[in-house]
C-alpha cells in the first residue's frame, strides 16, 4: 500500500474534518436561511424568494451530511457506533429535522392555502434551528468527555442521559453553532436575495457575527481551564484498532497543549475570529462577496479549532478514560482506509466539479418577481 497505517489514519482524521467543514459550509447556509425565514421574509412573495435562494441547492448540500455519516461509518466505525447510539435521542431529533426539511421545501408551495404554507414555514425554521443547536451541543459534550465504556467484546455502553447533554458548556457551544450558521445564512442572503429580505438579513447577520465572536471567546477561556484527556506513555500509531489497550488521564488545560507544541496552530482559532470579523465588515460595507467569504472562513476555523485542540483524541470517555477513542485505535483497518482513500481521491474532485457547475448555472440574485416562474 502506498501509505503506511499511521499516515492513512492522519489523512482520514483530516478528511473527517474536511467533510464536517464542507457540510457546515454548504448545508450550513441553507440551514441558516431556513432558521432566518420567519425573521427576514414577510408575506408569501418574500418567503418564496428566500426559499428559492436555496431551493435548487439544499438537496445536494445535504449529501455532505449523509456522506459524513457514511465516511465515519467506513473510516471510524467505533466512533460511529458509540456517538450515534450514545446521543440517541439527540440524533433522533436531528433526524426528525432532516426528514421534515426535504418535504417542507418540496411541499410548501404545492398548495395555495395560507395556513398550509405557514405550517411548512414553521417546519423549515425548526429544521434549521434544531440541527444547528444540537450539533453544537454534541461538540460541547465531546470536549468535556462522554460517559461510555466497552466490554471485552468491544460492545459499547453509554451511561449518560439525554438531559445530562444539556449542561452549561454544551449549551454555550450550541449557541456558537447556531449563531455561526445564522451568520452564514445571512451572508448568503446578502448575495442571493435583494430588497427587504436581504436588508433584514444584513442587520441580523451583523448581530450574529458579534455573538459568534463573543461566545467563541468565552468558549475558549472555558476550555483553557477544562479537564482535557491525555494518553499516558506512547501509543503505537500503527497498532490494531482496539481502544482497550492504553491508559488515559484527565488534566486541566490539556486541550491547549497542542498549541504550545505547535504555535502555528493558533492561526486556526484566529481564522474563526477573523472570519466573523470579515463577515461583519462585508455586511457593514454591503460587499456580499466579502461577508460570505468571511462567514465561510469563520465556520471552517471554528470547527477545525475543536479538532486540533483534541488531537489525537477523537471521543474521550469521561467514565472510563482508558476507553477513549483515539486517532490511533478507533479507525478501520489499513486496507479499508486505503481503499476508501482511493475512492475519495477519484470521486471527490468529480463531485466538486459538477457542484461548481450547478452553482455557476444558478449564478445571480433571486428576486421576488422571479418566484412565479419557479417550483417552490
Amino acid at each position: 500500500m502506498l501509505f503506511d497505517y499511521e499516515v492513512l489514519r492522519l489523512i482520514w482524521w483530516a478528511l473527517l474534518g474536511v467533510l464536517l467543514v464542507a457540510f457546515a459550509v454548504t448545508d450550513g447556509f441553507d440551514m441558516g436561511v431556513a432558521a432566518l425565514l420567519p425573521a427576514v421574509a414577510r408575506g408569501d412573495g418574500q418567503r418564496r424568494q428566500v426559499i428559492n435562494t436555496v431551493g435548487p441547492v439544499w438537496e445536494g448540500n445535504q449529501v455532505w451530511f449523509v456522506l459524513g455519516g457514511g465516511a465515519i461509518f467506513a473510516a471510524w466505525p467505533a466512533l460511529y457506533a458509540v456517538s450515534f447510539s450514545g446521543f440517541y435521542l439527540a440524533m433522533f431529533l436531528i433526524l426528525v429535522a432532516l426528514i421534515i426539511r426535504p418535504v417542507a421545501f418540496k411541499f410548501r408551495s404545492k398548495r395555495d392555502d395560507a395556513g398550509w404554507r405557514a405550517r411548512w414555514d414553521a417546519a423549515l425554521c425548526f429544521s434549521g434551528v434544531v440541527p444547528a443547536l444540537i450539533f453544537g451541543v454534541a461538540v460541547g459534550n465531546v470536549l468535556q468527555g462522554v460517559p461510555f465504556h466497552f466490554d471485552s467484546d468491544l460492545r459499547p455502553f453509554y451511561t449518560g442521559s439525554f438531559f445530562a447533554l444539556l449542561n452549561p458548556f454544551a449549551l454555550l457551544c450550541g449557541l456558537v453553532s447556531l449563531a455561526m450558521l445564522v451568520l452564514h445564512g445571512a451572508t448568503w442572503l446578502q448575495i442571493k436575495a435583494d430588497g427587504e429580505p436581504a436588508e433584514r438579513a444584513r442587520r441580523i447577520g451583523l448581530i450574529a457575527a458579534a455573538v459568534v465572536i463573543v461566545l467563541f471567546a468565552i468558549g475558549g477561556f472555558w476550555v483553557s481551564n477544562m479537564e482535557g484527556y491525555r494518553v499516558v506513555g506512547a501509543m503505537d500509531p500503527m497498532g490494531p484498532s482496539n481502544p482497550l489497550r492504553k491508559e488515559v488521564v484527565t488534566e486541566a488545560g490539556v486541550w491547549l497543549a497542542n498549541y504550545g507544541a505547535q504555535p502555528l496552530l493558533w492561526l486556526v482559532p484566529l481564522v474563526g475570529f477573523g472570519g466573523a470579523a470579515l463577515a461583519m465588515l462585508g455586511l457593514f460595507t454591503r460587499i456580499g462577496a466579502l461577508s460570505f467569504l468571511g462567514s465561510k472562513l469563520s465556520v471552517a476555523g471554528i470547527i477545525t479549532t475543536v479538532g486540533v485542540s483534541m488531537f489525537p483524541v477523537i471521543l474521550p470517555s469521561s467514565s472510563d478514560p482508558g476507553h477513549s477513542l483515539m486517532v490511533w485505535d478507533a479507525s478501520s483497518s489499513h486496507y479499508t482506509l486505503g481503499i476508501m482513500l482511493i475512492a475519495t481521491v477519484i470521486l471527490l474532485p468529480i463531485v466538486l466539479l459538477y457542484t461548481a457547475w450547478v452553482y455557476k448555472v444558478l449564478w445571480g440574485k433571486v428576486r421576488e418577481s422571479d418566484v412565479n416562474k419557479d417550483m417552490y
Binding site: E59, F73, V82
Partner: protein, 527 residues
C-alpha cells in the same frame, strides 16, 4: 444478556423505516429513467408535447423523490443509532459501500435534481437532457452500492474476523463488490423499480384515457410505459435472484424454506406450487409439486442436489460445536494476545464463531451452554417457513402478471390494435401491485436471513445498541407519527396533481391534432 424486548423493538423500527423508505425508492429508480426517455424524444423531435410530459411526470417524481431522500437519511444513520454493536463489528466492510454510495451516486442525483426542476430556462436543451440522464444514472448507481452492502449481509465474502480488533475486517474488497449475491440483487431490484415506474405511468395514463382528458399526453405516456414496462417485467422474472441462493448454507436454508422443503430431494428437485408449511411438525401439508422445476431454477442443472431444512439444521448444530472451539480460543486471546496455540485453534475454527454467538441468547458464556440450549439455538436457525413460502409465491405471481399486462399493452400499442376500456381499467387497478411485490421481496430476503443479521457471522439479536426500551418506545412512536402524517400528506398531494393533470404548453389546436395523429390503438369505437 440482551433484553429481548429491546431486540424486538429495534427490529420493528428498522423494518418499519426500511419498508417505508422502499415505498419511494422503486418509483425513483423507474420514473427517473422514463423521464430521461421522454425528454430524449423531446430533444430529438422538438415536439413540445414531450417536454410537457417530462415536466408533468417530473412533478410527481419530485414529490416522491423528496420523500425518498427524507426517509433515506434515517437509513444511513440508523445502523449507528440502533445497531451499534453491528456497526462496530462489521463497519470495516459495511461502511465502505455506504460511503462510496454517497460519493459516487447520491451526490450526483441530489446535486443535479435541483437543476432538473429549476434549469428549464437556464440550460440548453441538450444540457438539460444530460442533467436528467445523470439524475437517473445517480439513482441507479445508488441502488448498486446499497445492494453491495446488503449482498454482503447475505453472503459475507472477502472478510475475516480479527481477534486483535474484535471485529470483521476486509481482506478482498473486489470480492465484496463482485459478490454474486449482490450483483443478482442489484439487477433484480432495479428491474423491479423500472416495472414500478412503468406501472405508475401506465395506470395514471389509463385514468386520463378513461376520462378522455389530456389524451395526447396520456396516449404517448401509455405507449412509453408499455414498452419500457415489458422489457423491465421480463428482466425482473428472468433475472430473479434465486440463482444466488445456492451459494452459502444460509442462502440454502432460505431456499429450502421458500420451498417448504424439509428433506433433501433427489436432483432435480420439484417445485412446490402449493402447500401449508408446518413449523412444528416440520413438514408441508397438502403439497402440490411440479417435478424438476425447482432444481432447474435454483441450480441451473439437473444433477445438483438442493439440501432440505432438516439436513441444514443438523449442519447448524455441528457448526455451533466448532464455533465453541473458536470462541474459547478467542477468550484466551483477549487476555493473552501472544498465545500461539489459541491463535491456531481460532484460525482453524473461525468461520463458525458466529454459530457459537447464537448461544448468547440463552447463556452469558456460550461455553457453559447445555446440550438442550445448543438444541434451542439450532432450532432458532429456522424462521417462519409459512411466511416465506407464501410471500415468495405472491411475489412471483405478481411478477408473471406484470409480464402478461405489459405484454398485452405492448401488443396493442405496437400492432395498433384498439386498447379496450376494460384493459384501461385493469391497468389502473394494477397501480398498487408493484409496491406489494417489492415489499414481499424484501420480506423474503431479510426475514429469510434470520436469525442472522450477517449470515453465519453475527446473530441479529447481538447487533443492537445498548439502549433502553423507553428510548425505543419514544423513537418507534415518533417515527410512526411522522411517517404516517407524511404519508397522508404525500398521497393527498399526489392525488391533487394527478387530478389536476398536466399543464400543456402545447396550444389547444395542436393538441387536438396531435391527439388525432397518434397511434390508432386508442381510437374510440364507432358509436
Amino acid at each position: 444478556m440482551i433484553d429481548a424486548t429491546l431486540v424486538e423493538l429495534s427490529r420493528l423500527q428498522f423494518a418499519m423505516t426500511a419498508m417505508y423508505h422502499f415505498l419511494f425508492v422503486p418509483l425513483t429508480l423507474g420514473l427517473s429513467f422514463m423521464l430521461a426517455i421522454m425528454e430524449s424524444v423531446y430533444v430529438m423531435t422538438g415536439r413540445t408535447i414531450w417536454r410537457d410530459m417530462t415536466k408533468f411526470w417530473g412533478l410527481l417524481f419530485g414529490i416522491n423523490f423528496a420523500m425518498g431522500v427524507a426517509t433515506g437519511i434515517v437509513m444511513e444513520f440508523q445502523f449507528g443509532t440502533n445497531w451499534a454493536f453491528y456497526s462496530h463489528y462489521v463497519g470495516d466492510i459495511f461502511g465502505a459501500p455506504l460511503a462510496i454510495e454517497g460519493l459516487m451516486a447520491f451526490f450526483l442525483e441530489a446535486t443535479l435534481v435541483g437543476l432538473f426542476f429549476f434549469g428549464w430556462d437556464k440550460l440548453g436543451k441538450v444540457q438539460h437532457l444530460a442533467v436528467t440522464w445523470l439524475v437517473a444514472l445517480g439513482s441507479n448507481l445508488s441502488a448498486l452500492w446499497i445492494l453491495v452492502a446488503n449482498g454482503w449481509m447475505q453472503n459475507p465474502v472477502g472478510s475475516v474476523f480479527n481477534p486483535d480488533t474484535m471485529r470483521m475486517e476486509v481482506v478482498d474488497f473486489a470480492a465484496v463488490i463482485f459478490n454474486p449475491v449482490a450483483q443478482a440483487k442489484f439487477v433484480h431490484t432495479v428491474a423491479a423499480g423500472y416495472v414500478t415506474g412503468a406501472v405508475f405511468v401506465l395506470a395514471i395514463s389509463a385514468y386520463y384515457l378513461l376520462r378522455h382528458r389530456h389524451e395526447a399526453l396520456a396516449k404517448r405516456s401509455f405507449t412509453v410505459a408499455a414498452s419500457f414496462g415489458l422489457a423491465a417485467a421480463l428482466s425482473v422474472v428472468v433475472l430473479g435472484d434465486e440463482s444466488g441462493y445456492t451459494i452459502t448454507d444460509n442462502q440454502k436454508m432460505k431456499l429450502a424454506m421458500i420451498e417448504g422443503m424439509w428433506h433433501t430431494e433427489e436432483a432435480p428437485a420439484p417445485f412446490a406450487l402449493f402447500g401449508i408449511p408446518d413449523r412444528e411438525a416440520q413438514e408441508t401439508h397438502y403439497e402440490l409439486k411440479i417435478p424438476w422445476v425447482m432444481g432447474l431454477i435454483a441450480t441451473r442443472s439437473i444433477d445438483q442436489e438442493i439440501p432440505g431444512i432438516r439436513e441444514l439444521m443438523a449442519l447448524s448444530e455441528l457448526h455451533i460445536r466448532d464455533g465453541l472451539l473458536a470462541y474459547d480460543a478467542l477468550e484466551t486471546l483477549k487476555v493473552d494476545e501472544s498465545n500461539a496455540e489459541a491463535r491456531q485453534t481460532f484460525l482453524e475454527n473461525q468461520e463458525y464463531l458466529g454459530y457459537a454467538l447464537m448461544l448468547k441468547k440463552y447463556v452469558e458464556d456460550p461455553r457453559d451452554a447445555s446440550d438442550e440450549q445448543i438444541a434451542m439455538a439450532t432450532r432458532d436457525a429456522l424462521p417462519n417457513v409459512f411466511a416465506l413460502f407464501w410471500s415468495f409465491r405472491f411475489m412471483v405471481v405478481i411478477g408473471f402478471y406484470m409480464i402478461a399486462l405489459f405484454g398485452l399493452a405492448f401488443y396493442m400499442v405496437s400492432l395498433r390494435r384498439r386498447v379496450p376500456r376494460w384493459f384501461l381499467r385493469v391497468a389502473f387497478y394494477t397501480l398498487p401491485l408493484p409496491w406489494v411485490a417489492a415489499e414481499l421481496g424484501w420480506l423474503v430476503a431479510e426475514y429469510g436471513r434470520q436469525p442472522w443479521v450477517i449470515e453465519g457471522v453475527l446473530p441479529t439479536f447481538l447487533g443492537v445498541s445498548s439502549l433502553t426500551v423507553t428510548d425505543l418506545l419514544i423513537t418507534v412512536a415518533g417515527f410512526l407519527v411522522i411517517y404516517t402524517t407524511l404519508a397522508v400528506i404525500e398521497v393527498k398531494l399526489m392525488l391533487k396533481y394527478i387530478r389536476k393533470g398536466p399543464e400543456e404548453e402545447e396550444s389547444a389546436d395542436n393538441l387536438a391534432r396531435l391527439d388525432e395523429r397518434f397511434s390508432p390503438a386508442f381510437n374510440r369505437p364507432q358509436e
